[in-house]
């Protein structure tokens, strides 16, 4: 029984390591893909191109412009006319345009107030509105608002407020979900495609053992990927802190890998070809990932979606992992995340198991 189980697992692992294309995709997903997401998706204002038209002849306008510097802003570029500036924004060379009209300084001196025209390319909404916020803060420094209150800020868990660490982690968890589903579905559907399915059915082996061994082999591959991604990308490149227990994280990942394998079993049961696997996986995965809070904070969702997010196992996995890495939550206090992943995971795995079991 045990011998047969390991023979089945070994066969799947040999098959996996011999198909270098698959190995390359898995390695890419667990390293470069996570790195690109972490390093590339930038929500903070950074390196913004600024242009200006200054008709005042210097003075106040210079002072304001000198406050726009690296790393948030590039050195402001001067334009001679408003048309040239607009054109440049249209061409996406400049994201923020400042226009100091000729009476800006005069009006400021004479009446104590004035205005600056601001052009924003709000296609990159987050970045341009953060730029707006910076500018408002700069102007606020020059203004006398008359409320002598200063904000003292304490940033918890993520002192530099960098998004890259969180993004990289969230991407890794999404990769685990996606690959868990696709790899598991693939080991079954490849047999259908290659015509070995019938041969497999005719083995004098309990079908349950075949299903279990096949999905277990893919969970092993996923766990290998998790170790690589955590070690090299999260700790090595993004310096993600580990304030909690790393073994708790791996245990949670192991349960979660079975959850996504369960979805994979379902996909395998309804697909005839790898193309269908890809299509159905994406169809199932997208809501699962969107509802999990990986890309949108859950409290910002529509109330109905907030309710729905309770049935996304990825939600518990993300919140659990976040607690382990950043918050340093005690192992004993992680039970709710473990419960969420294990309960939803058992339901999904059992359902997938039954569904594919019917084909045997």
């Amino acid at each position: 029984m045990i011998g047969t189980f390991f023979a089945l697992v070994a066969k799947e692992l040999i098959g996996f390591f011999r198909s270098w294309g698959l190995v390359a995709i898995v390695l890419y997903s667990f390293t470069l893909d996570i790195y690109i997401t972490g390093a590339g998706i930038e929500m903070q204002a950074k390196n913004i191109a600024v242009g200006y038209v200054d008709e005042t002849g210097g003075g106040m306008s210079r002072k304001i412009l000198s406050r726009l510097h690296m790393p948030e802003f590039q050195k402001p570029v001067m334009f001679t006319s408003q048309e040239a500036l607009s054109q440049s924004i249209y061409n996406r060379e400049i994201m923020v345009g400042l226009i100091f009209e000729s009476d800006f300084e005069k009006s400021l001196k004479k009446y104590g107030r004035s205005s600056i025209d601001l052009l924003l390319d709000s296609i990159a909404a987050t970045q341009s509105f953060q730029a707006l916020q910076y500018l408002q803060n700069i102007l606020l420094d020059y203004a006398d608002i008359g409320i002598p209150v200063e904000l003292k800020i304490h940033k918890l868990f993520n002192p530099n407020a960098t998004t890259s660490q969180f993004m990289a982690m969230a991407e890794m968890l999404s990769v685990i979900t996606l690959l868990g589903v696709i790899l598991t579905a693939a080991v079954f559907v490849r047999e259908k495609e290659n015509g070995t399915w019938d041969i497999m059915l005719l083995m004098p082996i309990d079908p349950k053992l075949i299903i279990l061994a096949k999905s277990f082999s893919q969970v092993l591959i996923i766990m290998g990927g998790v170790v690589i991604a955590t070690g090299i990308v999260l700790f090595g490149i993004f310096d993600v802190p580990i304030n909690g227990s790393i073994s708790a994280f791996f245990l949670l990942s192991f349960f979660y890998a079975f959850t996504s394998a369960g979805i994979g079993l379902f996909v395998a049961a309804v697909s005839k070809s790898m193309l269908q696997v890809a299509q159905i996986s994406i169809l199932i995965m997208m809501p699962l990932i969107f509802l999990s809070g990986a890309w949108t904070p859950i409290h910002a969702m529509h109330p109905l979606l907030q309710e729905l997010s309770l049935i996304s196992p990825l939600r518990y996995y993300i919140e659990g992992s976040e607690s382990i890495f950043f918050r340093g939550t005690d192992v004993a206090d992680l039970w709710s995340y473990f419960a969420g992943v294990i309960i939803l995971g058992s339901v999904l795995y059992f359902y997938g198991f039954r569904k594919i079991g019917r084909l045997f």
């Binding site: 047969t4 098959g15 011999r18 198909s19 290659n194 070995t196 019938d198 083995m203 082996i205």
Partner: protein, 541 residues
């Protein structure tokens, strides 16, 4: 100069030469046959002639030459290509008449009375005039091939390139396909190049070219060709030297033998060619089974087995019996219900109606089968084994699935490899094996647990003549030494000769079930099995 001339054409696929220095010519109105196993280079040469792949060398047709697909472009209106595979050029939701008008349109033909007349004539030749409103997906395999052929003829090509148009098609439709070709060559003077898997068709061709692993080994009329090897072919006798080879019906020897000469078939050329080239052909052996298994007298008994897919009845109340020590051939065209029947026996398809008893045990549920799996061997169509594991790894995997202990398994695997002649391929991947080796290795995988019954689904299609005769040799030895029962499906009617008993299926119905001798006795005029089966097909009309 001949109308069509192929001069030293070489085709390479990713640096592997698939056909080398091929030369061929054809005159107006000739039907030229290309004969050989899968992978011998026939399709590649035909694709080169049709101007769809790159090649080295030169092809001249009607006074114009081309050396590349681009240069062939201006000749395309004169060429008609029908690729391999039943119904491959058809669209299953379009009706017969929609197909004809679609193919007229993409060929940019002028819609006039003469085109209309020609289309009517084609429909009539194909016997499809009553089915013009039927979608192609609902036609039988034979009708699909006839429709494909007339769609290829719609622009009156003067060169027709047909890649295995008759493979898997029932004998009657095959005869009708031939009639269309004969008529077209009479009236239009079309040159036809066609490859075929059936040696019997060669007799009707003006000239045949024999292909063996990437070279043309001989050409001429079927009669001329068999004449050249007449002196080497004898009645079956045991062989003593390396320069001699015996199959169950013939002995081929380069040295003179003390035996009666026998009239050779075209297949003899492949054997003689291999002998002359000194190709080592492993002698197949089978030793006694290691385990003693009591075998029931009747291994399988089916009563009224029926399988429906929607409205379509794939198998219609079929009765069949398989005894131990018997090779039962299940014959029929593609779509006759052979594979469906085997899959019902194995439990891969649920049985809709009827009773089945396997190894003395009535089968009512999947549970009844679980215990029997260890005593049944099965080789599926196209010998599907795991492509990413070597031959050895595959065999070890199957052994462990059958819980054979490691030491016993590896000694058994070594023995099979030696006896069935794939020893030198143990560490290759199945995709790297010649088809014939792949075929025997797949059977070895199905024999590891020493089953008492073996089901084989189309194990011989596409395999070369030598490997095929070795394969039948192996089955015969298995039957003798193991007392195993074998059920084998094939669409080669000629292979019925190797079976003890044959069952003929036609459109899901059993039309014949008898021993080989009895069938010959009942049809004294018949020269071959092909002809016997033609009777059954005609009677059913």
């Amino acid at each position: 100069m001949a109308k069509l001339e192929i001069r030293d054409v070489t085709v390479k696929h990713r640096n592997v030469t698939v056909i080398k220095d091929a030369r061929l010519y054809a005159e107006k109105g000739e039907i030229i046959g290309l004969i050989g196993a899968d992978g011998a280079g026939k399709s590649s040469l035909m694709h080169a002639v049709a101007g769809v792949i790159r090649f080295e060398g030169e092809i001249a047709f009607g006074g114009r030459r081309f050396g590349s697909p681009r240069e062939a472009e201006k000749l395309k209106p004169m060429i008609g290509l029908m690729p391999q595979g039943i119904g491959l050029v058809l669209y299953k939701n379009l009706t017969v008449s929609e197909h004809l008008s679609f193919f007229s349109k993409i060929r940019n033909l002028k819609e006039d009375a003469s085109l209309d007349r020609y289309r009517k004539r084609l429909l009539k030749m194909a016997g499809l005039e009553r089915f013009t409103d039927r979608p192609a997906g609902k036609l039988s395999g034979g009708m699909m091939q006839k429709l494909s052929l007339i769609c290829t003829l719609i622009h009156r090509p003067s060169l027709l390139v047909l890649d295995e148009p008759t493979t898997g098609v029932d004998p009657l439709s095959r005869r009708e396909l031939w009639k269309i070709l004969e008529e077209i060559r009479e009236s239009e003077g079309t040159i036809t190049l066609m490859s075929t898997a059936y040696m019997q068709e060669a007799a009707k061709m003006d000239r045949v070219y024999l292909f063996d692993s990437g070279t043309i080994i001989a050409s001429g009329t079927a009669e001329e060709l068999t004449e050249t090897v007449k002196e080497y072919v004898y009645d079956p006798v045991p062989c003593k030297s390396e320069r001699c080879l015996s199959t169950s019906h013939y002995t081929y020897s380069l040295d003179p033998l003390e035996a009666l000469h026998k009239k050779p078939t075209l297949e003899a050329l492949f054997f003689i060619n291999a002998l002359k080239r000194g190709v080592e052909i492993p002698q197949i052996e089978v030793s006694e089974r290691e385990s003693e298994e009591p075998i029931a007298q009747v291994v399988m008994e089916a009563k009224g087995l029926t399988k429906r897919f929607g409205d379509f009845v794939a198998d219609d109340h079929i009765d069949m019996e398989l005894k131990s020590g018997e090779i039962l051939g299940l014959l029929g065209a593609n779509g006759a219900g052979k594979t469906t029947f085997i899959k019902m026996l194995l439990g891969l398809y649920p049985i809709d109606e009827g009773e089945l008893t396997l190894l003395g045990k009535p089968i009512r549920s999947a549970k009844d089968r679980q215990g029997l799996k260890a005593r049944i061997g099965y080789v599926s169509q196209h010998f599907s084994l795991y492509k990413d594991m070597t031959v050895r790894e595959n065999l070890l995997y199957f052994a462990s699935m059958h819980r054979i202990d490691a030491a016993k398994a590896s000694s058994r695997i070594e023995r099979y490899a030696k006896e069935l002649g794939f020893e030198s391929y143990m560490d290759s991947l199945p995709t790297e094996l010649p088809l014939g080796i792949n075929q025997r290795f797949s059977v070895a995988a199905a024999l590891l647990h020493e089953p008492v019954v073996l089901f084989l689904d189309e194990p011989t299609s596409g395999v070369d003549a030598i490997a095929r005769s070795q394969f039948w040799q192996m089955l015969k030895l298995l039957k003798q030494k193991w007392g195993i029962a074998i059920l084998i499906t094939t669409h080669y009617m000629s292979e019925a000769e190797y079976c003890d008993r044959v069952v003929l299926l036609k459109e899901g119905k059993k039309v014949a079930d008898d021993s080989v001798e009895n069938l010959y006795r009942k049809h004294p005029g018949a020269r071959s099995f092909e002809e016997i089966f033609l009777h059954y097909y005609e009677d059913g009309r």
